[in-house]
């Protein structure tokens, strides 16, 4: 492998890892605060990508589409939490798994009713459609770099929100002791709604920004969901920091494996996960 190719793969790996972080952080946040395992989280990623396509087709602007999609996702998150998830807090994990499997079925059906089953594509926004030349023949698309920077920006915003703001303080308090937070006169159910809606929005936003890089196909949600599971299992369930490290690790391993050991490439992240579990059954950063 030449140095240039190595650098390209490195950037690809980091960029994929950062995108995974965006999705996995929502999954792990919802689990950490509310104790809910949301299998339909991948469906939100899918919905985000389809919404992005729909609004780009109708408004012509990627920026407008992204904002509208994010708002719709937020509202969808509030609706789902208020009508369904709310009833599961005191139930076991099995009920959560089932309910969210049901949600996956519904979302997949809605996707096929609303947008059909043919692969769709979103054009890269014009402002970001250029490429940076690396050598005479190799160049790197600006859009991918934009995605990486955007994800880092979101990660910093999340870090700041959780550690420095009042909402973050409530989230951390809710994580450690639900009853105590209630006793202090804080409406925990509203906090849960907010956290769940943010989680849904993060996944959908990831779907929106991923839309110009991939083809939008049915089942894309399930594929990414499993990768996110690997991320949160490696990082430790409920830990945002763990999700960040885990996502980068998975992104890099996945990207380099497809170059170095193509036969094993799609298995490699699971082998990594099994290995880490052998050493630390609760993940790297479990609380």
């Amino acid at each position: 492998m030449t140095t240039t190719l190595f650098i390209v793969q490195l950037i690809n790996g980091l960029q994929y890892g950062l995108l995974l972080f965006l999705i996995a952080s929502g999954l792990t946040l919802v689990f950490g605060v509310m104790g809910i395992l949301n299998l339909a989280h991948g469906s939100m990623f899918m919905i985000g990508a389809y919404l992005a396509w729909y609004f780009v087709e109708h408004t012509g602007s990627f920026g407008v589409s992204a904002v509208v999609s994010a708002i719709i996702a937020l509202l969808l998150g509030i609706l789902i939490e208020r009508t369904l998830i709310r009833h599961l807090y005191r139930r076991n994990h099995l009920d959560q798994v089932l309910l969210t499997i049901g949600m996956i079925f519904v979302f997949n059906a809605l996707q096929s009713i609303l947008w059909g089953n043919d692969p769709l594509g979103v054009a890269v926004p014009e402002l970001l459609s250029s490429s940076i030349p690396l050598t005479d023949i190799l160049e790197y698309p600006v859009y991918r770099i934009f995605v990486a920077i955007f994800c880092v920006f979101i990660a910093i915003v999340m870090y700041y929100t959780i550690n420095k703001t009042r909402l973050g303080m409530l989230i951390r308090a809710g994580e450690s002791n639900r009853e105590m937070v209630e006793c202090l006169g804080i409406d925990i159910s509203r906090l849960y709604t907010v956290v769940f809606a943010i989680g849904v929005m993060l996944a959908a936003v990831a779907g929106v920004i991923a839309a110009p890089m991939t083809s939008i196909v049915p089942g894309m949600g399930e594929h990414i969901l499993i990768a996110c599971f690997v991320v949160v299992v490696i990082g430790g369930m409920g830990s945002i920091k763990g999700a960040f490290i885990g996502a980068l690790l998975v992104g890099l391993v996945d990207t380099f494996a497809s170059v170095l050991v193509p036969q094993l490439s799609s298995m490699m992240i699971y082998i990594l996960m099994a290995f880490i579990l052998l050493l630390k059954p609760q993940g790297l950063f479990s609380s």
């Binding site: 689990f31 395992l37 369904l84 009833h87 599961l88 994990h93 099995l94 009920d95 798994v97 089932l98 309910l99 499997i101 049901g102 949600m103 996956i104 079925f105 519904v106 979302f107 997949n108 059906a109 809605l110 096929s112 009713i113 399930e222 499993i226 599971f229 690997v230 949160v232 299992v233 369930m237 036969q263 490439s265 799609s266 298995m267 699971y270 082998i271 996960m273 099994a274 579990l277 052998l278 059954p281 609760q282 993940g283």
Partner: protein
């Protein structure tokens, strides 16, 4: 008595005689016979999952891995153009699947709850990608089986596997035996300890039992039987492909098990029958059957969580 609940006995006395007579009514219609055969096979698979999740409290979302492995192990070890012995290969496949389950169990059972759900899923995905990427096993298309095994046992050949009616009875017999087998385990000393572990693992440790060992044995047994179901499925359709190991297979099985009534064992048959029946009729009504299926599952979790068996028992059992 092995079948200790009234509802359970009632179910057995209604279901098995009906199932035995069914091919007489459907003689001309092999389509329904083979459809019912698939339901039996899947019931067997769901039953093994029901034991694992409902009786042992080991929630797995990767049980389909063993379903698929049942087929793939057969393809790996059986010669391509030669009829092998069905019973012998049943033994081989279950033993190999058990050995794999033992190894994976050592890793997976170190965790519990939500972690175990995700790790079992990840292992199943690993197997899924292994087979769907491999050229040797035909990738996404899978592998065809040209010659079906013969079933002679001590010189006596009871079933002709190419005959759908014979195959139907083989699956029905397997289903009944599996059900009886799980009931025997549940009523044995082993099963009692497993119940205690399900109820409270910490106290069971305090009583001096090696909880990990019991979990591992249960996991291995259920996985081997899951592989047996996959083996039957492969023989019925004459092919094996990666979709057998996909996570939707595990998810659907879990839904069927809950629908039937988690942990009741016989509920697995009820759940599979009802689910497949609904699936079949909805599919004929609308191409968007998935929407209704999803809504049904959500409704089930919200209001009908004891499943069909739980509901029947509430009606039929004497209150003590």
């Amino acid at each position: 008595m092995l079948f200790n609940k009234r509802t359970e006995r009632l179910f057995i006395w209604i279901f098995f005689p009906l199932a035995l007579m069914m091919p007489l009514f459907l003689e001309q219609n092999t389509f329904y016979v083979s459809k019912l055969t698939t339901v039996m096979i899947f019931s067997l698979f769901v039953m093994s999952l029901d034991y694992l999740v409902g009786r042992c409290g080991l929630i797995t979302l990767g049980h389909a891995m063993f379903y698929g492995l049942g087929g793939y192990i057969f393809v790996m070890i059986a010669p391509e153009y030669e009829a092998v012995n069905f019973w012998l290969y049943t033994l081989y496949i279950c033993s190999i699947a058990a050995a794999i389950a033992l190894l994976i169990g050592l890793l997976v059972l170190r965790t519990s709850g939500i972690y175990m759900i995700m790790i079992t899923l990840a292992f199943a995905q690993m197997a899924f990608y292994y087979f769907s990427d491999s050229i040797e096993f035909g990738g996404n298309d899978g592998v065809f089986i040209y010659v079906k095994p013969e079933t002679s046992l001590f010189g006596l050949s009871l079933f002709d596997l190419d005959n759908p009616i014979h195959f139907y009875y083989l699956c029905l017999l397997s289903l009944f035996n599996t059900m009886a087998f799980f009931k025997i385990i549940m009523r044995s000393r082993f099963g009692r300890v497993m119940d205690a572990i399900h109820e409270n693992p910490d106290r069971t440790v305090a009583l001096g039992y090696n909880v990990f060992f019991f979990k591992l044995i249960s996991y291995t047994i259920a996985s081997a039987l899951g592989a047996y179901a996959g083996y039957l499925f492969t023989l019925q359709y004459g092919f094996v492909n990666p979709s057998m190991l996909s996570w939707t297979t595990s998810g659907t099985a879990l839904v069927m098990s809950i629908l039937g009534g988690m942990g009741s064992i016989y509920g697995a048959i009820l759940g599979t029958l009802v689910y497949e029946g609904l699936h079949y009729s909805l599919e004929h009504l609308t191409e968007h059957w998935l929407l209704f299926m999803g809504a049904l599952i959500i409704l089930m979790v919200m209001v009908f969580k004891d499943g069909i068996a739980g509901y029947l028992e509430k009606l039929l059992e004497k209150r003590s």
